[in-house]
Every structure is written in C-alpha cells, then in structure tokens.
Symmetry: C2
Subunit: 138 residues, 2 copies
C-alpha cells in the first residue's frame, strides 16, 4: 500500500492555452509558467500553483495527439489527476497484484524528470489517474 | 480578483460507492468518512483527505438526480473541482462583470455549511468549477 500524500497536479485539456491562462491569471491571481512545447507529445502546456498542488493547462498542437483526440471525443475539460506517493514501484506492484488495470506497469520518467505512471481510467472509476514519486530531498 | 488558496476538493461520480471507497482505502491508505446520504440531491457520498485537499466520492441514489444523469451521459469519473477563495462574493462579482458564465451568481450554503457557488463549465473551459469560502477562524 502506498499512501496518497497530496494532489500533485490536475491536468486540464484546453482548446486555447493563451485564453485559458489569461482567465486564471486575471480572475484568480495565479502565476503561470511560460508556455512549454513538448513536440513529442504534441502539446503546449502552462502550469501554475494552487496551494500545495498545481494546475496544468494543456493545449494540443496537433489534432492526432492524445490530447487532441481527447478534446475531439470529449470536449475540453478535466483530463487527469496526479497524486504524489512515497513509493511508486510498491504502489504499482500492489495494484497489479490486485488486478487493477494499469497503463504503466513500471515507473517511467515524466516531463519534470520525476518518476510517474498512469493507472487506466477503467481501474480508477473513470478518472485517468497518475501517480508520481518525487526525489527524496536532502 | 480572488486568489485560489487551495484545491478544496475533487468530486468523483461513481457507480458503486462502496467499491470505490474500498479501492482507495485498500490501495492508498485513506480514511474515508461514513457514507452520508443527501436525499434532496439524490446522492450518497464519502470524503477522505489527500494532503490539504479532499476527494469526494458521490454515487447517485436515483438515475434522475443530477449525478445520475451525469453518469448516464458521460460515464463515471471526474465530476467537479472546488477551489477555496478568500472572498467568494467579490470573486463572483468580478467574474460576472467580465461575462463569465455562472451557475450561482450569489453564494449559497453548501453541504458542509460553508458558502459556495458553481461556475458554469462553459465559463471554465469545460471543467465544472466550484468556489468555496470557509468561515474565518479565530
């Protein structure tokens, strides 16, 4: 068992990154990062902190990217949640042993350089759920 | 402008509250509340803390309740996010002045006794977004 330490981020799929960023900046005083393009994933993304968590706004740069297809099918909106866990490998082993459907059975390295893995939405009651393990500090 | 202080909760619509609760309890060591039935809203709900936030699992008790209709249309999954703000009335006034579509133009009293209001998902890039103002402590 691996305890959920906090909500690490929420990922929103948006049609227009600049409009969405301006909305949160203007109305809610958030401090968004500079937009970052990840060519390989076909996205442009901005992050901003909300309390101990972050919101990640993600715009597809191509309609055939995973986020592009998501928007085509479901419309823009909530895309995924990421929870921080202490021991990602143990969490995945335990989930797999219990027959929970996983996208990643082993940790992989995410955009921020940390270890992460996705549970399949089927295995988490329709919510695309990411688990992240942050480097031990100190 | 009203700064987002933290993610107050995430609301998940689930088909079977007991199964979903057991999943988070077993795999992630969370401490769920006793299920609470809100007859008027046609729901049964459980909450558990994750860091400074909470996850709210909501099961419809009737198919014609708002959450029942949501699941029929979209399937189970993420339903809404609630952010804590300092001054809810000011936030709503500002959003309305800027033409953002709101479900509640004035704060109302939510289940936990705190002031809350929903933005229309159209006004928040497809994410059903709740703002909550907690009582001043001390």
């Amino acid at each position: 068992m691996s305890v959920l330490k906090k909500i690490y981020h929420l990922g929103y799929a948006v049609e227009d990154l600049d409009v969405a960023t301006r909305f949160y900046e203007t109305h809610f005083g958030v401090s968004p990062s500079e937009p970052e393009e990840v060519e390989e994933q076909g996205i442009r993304a901005v992050m901003f902190p909300v309390g101990e968590s972050m919101i990640e706004l993600v715009e597809p740069t191509r309609p055939d990217s995973p986020v592009g297809k998501f928007i085509e099918k479901r419309g823009q909106g909530f895309h995924h949640v990421a929870f921080q866990v202490e021991d990602l490998r143990a969490a995945l082993r335990d989930l797999k042993a219990d027959g929970v459907e996983l996208i990643d059975e082993e940790p992989r390295i995410g955009a921020g350089g940390y270890r992460m893995a996705f549970l399949h939405p089927q295995g988490a009651f329709g919510v695309l759920t990411e688990l992240v393990e942050l480097p031990k500090s100190g």
